[in-house]
Amino acid sequence: MTIREVREAVRARSAADVCADALARIETLNPQLNAFNTVVADQAMARAEAIDREPDRWRDAPLAGVPIAVKDNLCTRGIRTTASSRMLEHYVPPYDATVVSRLERAGGVIVGKTNCDEFAMGSSNETSAFGPVRNPWALDRIPGGTSGGSAAAVAARLTPMALGSDTGGSIRQPASLCGVVGLKPTYGRVSRYGLIAHASSLDQVGPLTRTVYDAALTLNVLAGSDEADATCAAEPVPDYTAALTGDVRGTRIGIPRALLEQGVDAEVSGAMDAALDVLKARGATLVDVDLPHACFATPVYYLVSTAEASSNLARYDGVRYGFRAKDESLRGMYAKTRARGFGAEVKRRIMLGTYVLSAGYYDAYYLKAQQVRTLVLRDYDRAFADVDVVAMPTSPLPAVRIGERVSDPVQMYLMDVFTVSANLSGLPAISVPCGFTRGPGVSKLGDAASSEGGLPIGLQLMGRRFDEATLLRVADAYERDTEWSTQPPPLISNR
């Protein structure tokens, strides 16, 4: 069910009924998917019943009675919040993230916390301390990362919406690999207060949903300034659902052809071209755009994000909360706590980031990366002077098998090639389902062939700063002419 359908069901039956259904689906499917770290069944039922008791109060609330899954790096008061790390395995925050409060004020019912890569570092959900999430379309494959649990939960119809966070593609890439819609808003559009920081200048919270309409509806609830987040913008918040007119006549869509020449799976390319044809048929104009510095985005991203992460994760020192290892000396306690509390990928990034910021290397790495970041942003500014959105694949390839890439960090990092630019530039971007792979052995890279076929492919659209409305309008128009989002994964349809 979509949010709209759930709202109907809540009115026709009850929030408690809808919530019980969601909890039952989670109970049945989560053991296979491992999408949730924590399920708060009793709390969710109590909340749904409370909503049922006050129908007048909640009648017009946009999300009244809608079961919601929240990525486990968003703080929830009284609910364990782990960031999928041993470090915070038993950590219970004393406060709610701003986005969580806003969802609850809109009537949302939080059913649980979704699995993700540890501290949102990874591209496959395999770095989670609590085991990988499995892709509902093929259980031996990754769901993408880092919001893999959120993407899998929505794809498997466990909840109609899940919150994710996106530092380098962590909403869009799993959305693409799981066949759902994932929106990363403009940096500053949505409060980060209560989001466990990975890379502060790149992190942004956003929704994963079945439809573009649901993403727009959720953004209405999430967006807007927050006095607890100094980087959250005061920009006015339009009604994003009102922007979904279906009209893309005259809309100019830019395609960075040069960037797409290498490393993209042939089926992914094909699906994207077909998607662009659909939009063209609706009246959009396709234009080539040049993004000369986009090819540097991945290295720049890994310099900036690791630098910030090395500092953001310093607070996990065993002194005040979280995991603490015993040792006689303070230094020993620090070292053992961090050696045992963090997983390999997190430690790798802390080391990289520490190096990047070190005296003597700062100028060559961090400063240079920030300069190139500015060039990447300028490329987009120039492109957006001519076009309304820029289109490209979300991921260069469909979901790979679990274990296939995680052992080679560089190969893993290259999965982010199309998504990191939006974070570096702060621009909004959305991934919408645009097809499925047909069959085996078609990957150009030769290592991602699907034995089953039928793996989801995502189309990514990037927009102007704070112009989520245009982005959502184009994505919605495309969705109207296709049926990708209505197809359930075999996990459900075979049952």
């Binding site: 915070l88 950590y91 925050p93 406060y95 100094a230 607070r315």
Partner: protein
């Protein structure tokens, strides 16, 4: 210059807590002395997901200090993270300012005040930052095995004031630190409480032969009194000269002052120095301070203490020592003094009263704030009292009693004098009648006086004053008694 041919080169780094009600990046109270870990929240505890939001009042406070020290407040400054691990630092980094500080380029001019040397002291920069928490090593049953952390202080706003290495003498450095304390307190920027750590000083010290390039410096940390600062610099100067004279080299290092043993000890060498990995704080946008805001803050700056002192000497012919007493020790009494003078009191008399009786009164009250005094006896009330003395209505010694009554009852001087019937007997016929009675009753002393024993005159004055219950105008009594005896 030193007899040995060396000169000391000294620069100071002063950390001052800003007197704001709440912390620099959250709404927690900055009050000192609360139960440990009660003034804390997700932000100052460094909980996962918490974000800093800059306190505007702290910025205005810092701007005020910067302007008073002649600094240029930068239109754009940025916060940075200083990364290091320590249990009193909840986030594992301190939010500070690094490359682009709030203010740069100030100066305290040569001879601008009593303490000031005959050379300028340049202020390199003033930047804002957050204070860390405090480790508690003592006072617990298990203090032999454990230390505790109190994070009430974590996130208290600070400014760091950095001077150029312009000082050549430990006394000047200590004088400057004292001046700075007085200035920051006068500005309402800092409470001046050095025991509680509200104001702390580090000194960078090196020695060289005059004209030679700068020598290798040692940084002496946490000098929290004027005396420690002076002693530590003096010790360090001598130590470094000894090192050089014995043919060795001074090592760049951080040292601590041991106030008991009166020497500095090495804390860490340059090689052991932290690499703080500063980078711009991504959680805070650049701090933009527009000229209008600077102008608005500038308008709130009171007259600075040194200027005030010079003005008191010039306007009221006070000695520099008196001016210093009035402005430095108890500035609120200085303001009281000036108000009394504005209300018509004679400056010299008012000064004597304020530094004498009134200061003693404040000592009795155990207060440094003249507000309580002014509530009972406003400065204008003191002026009215002194006017009664001036007019001869009451004597100077009576005035002291009247003041005491004014202080207790809050009545005006006129009301007290009227109510107690204290008005001086000034009327010639009344005094002449009293004298006549006294002369009639004391024939012996009168004969003595007339016989040339002049000391009898004082005896007779005393008798007349006693007969008048002390209320007769003593000058008139003298004059009329003399006339009566010589008649």
């Amino acid at each position: 210059m030193e007899p040995s041919g060396y000169e000391a080169v000294i620069g100071l780094e002063i950390h001052a807590q800003l007197r704001t009600a709440s912390k620099i990046f959250c709404g927690c109270s900055t009050a000192f002395g609360a139960k440990p870990n009660t003034h804390v929240c997700p932000v100052c505890l460094g909980l996962p997901g918490a974000l800093p939001v800059l306190n505007r009042a702290a910025v205005d406070c810092a701007i005020r200090a910067a302007l008073a020290l002649g600094c240029a407040v930068q239109e754009r400054s940025i916060f940075a993270r200083k990364n290091y691990f320590y249990p009193d630092l909840p986030k594992g980094y301190q939010i500070s300012q690094y490359e682009l500080p709030l203010a740069v380029g100030g100066m305290v001019a040569a001879k601008s005040d009593d303490w000031a040397p005959d050379y300028d002291i340049r202020i390199t920069r003033i930047h804002m930052e957050e204070d860390a928490g405090k480790l508690l090593h003592d006072g617990f049953g298990d203090s032999d095995r454990r230390s505790y952390v109190d994070l009430n202080r974590a996130g208290t706003p600070l400014i760091e004031i950095v001077t150029e290495p312009d000082f050549r003498d430990a006394r000047h450095a200590a004088g400057f630190f004292g001046y700075l304390r007085e200035l920051l307190v006068a500005l309402g920027v800092n409470d001046g409480n050095m025991e509680e750590g509200s104001l702390r000083c580090d000194a960078n010290v090196s020695v060289r032969k005059p004209g030679a390039p700068l020598g290798t410096k040692a940084e002496i940390k946490n000098l929290n009194s004027f005396r420690f600062l002076e002693e530590a610099i003096e010790y360090e100067r001598a130590r470094q000269i000894d090192v050089l004279e014995s043919g060795e080299r001074v090592v760049q290092e951080t040292r601590l002052w041991d106030s008991g043993a009166k020497h500095t000890v090495s804390m860490r060498s340059k090689e052991e120095a932290h690499d703080y990995r500063y980078f711009p704080e991504p959680d805070l946008p650049a701090l933009i301070v527009r000229p209008e805001r600077i102008a608005a803050v500038r308008a709130t700056i009171p007259e600075l203490p040194a200027v005030w002192r010079r003005r008191l000497v010039a306007d009221h012919q006070l000695t520099p020592a008196d001016a210093s007493m009035l402005t430095h020790v108890r500035p609120s009494l200085g303001r009281y003094f000036e108000e009394a003078v504005r209300a018509g009191a004679d400056a010299k008399t008012a000064k004597n009263w304020v530094l004498g009786l009134i200061s003693a009164k404040m000592n009795d009250l155990g207060s440094d704030d003249a507000e309580l005094l002014a509530e009972k006896v406003p400065a204008a009330g003191l002026a009215a009292l002194l006017a009664l003395v001036d007019d001869g209505a009451i004597s100077g010694s009576m005035a002291k009693g009247v003041f005491e009554t004014m202080f207790v009852t809050g009545q005006t001087a006129g009301a007290v004098v009227a109510a107690q019937g204290l008005a001086q007997i000034d009327d010639e016929s009344q005094i002449v009648a009293l004298i006549a009675d006294v002369l009639a009753a004391n024939a012996g002393p009168v004969a003595d006086f007339r016989g040339g024993k002049t000391s009898a005159f004082g005896f007779l004055v005393g008798k007349v004053m006693k007969a008048a219950a002390g209320k007769a105008n003593p000058t008139r009594v003298n004059e009329l008694l003399k006339r009566a005896l010589e008649a």
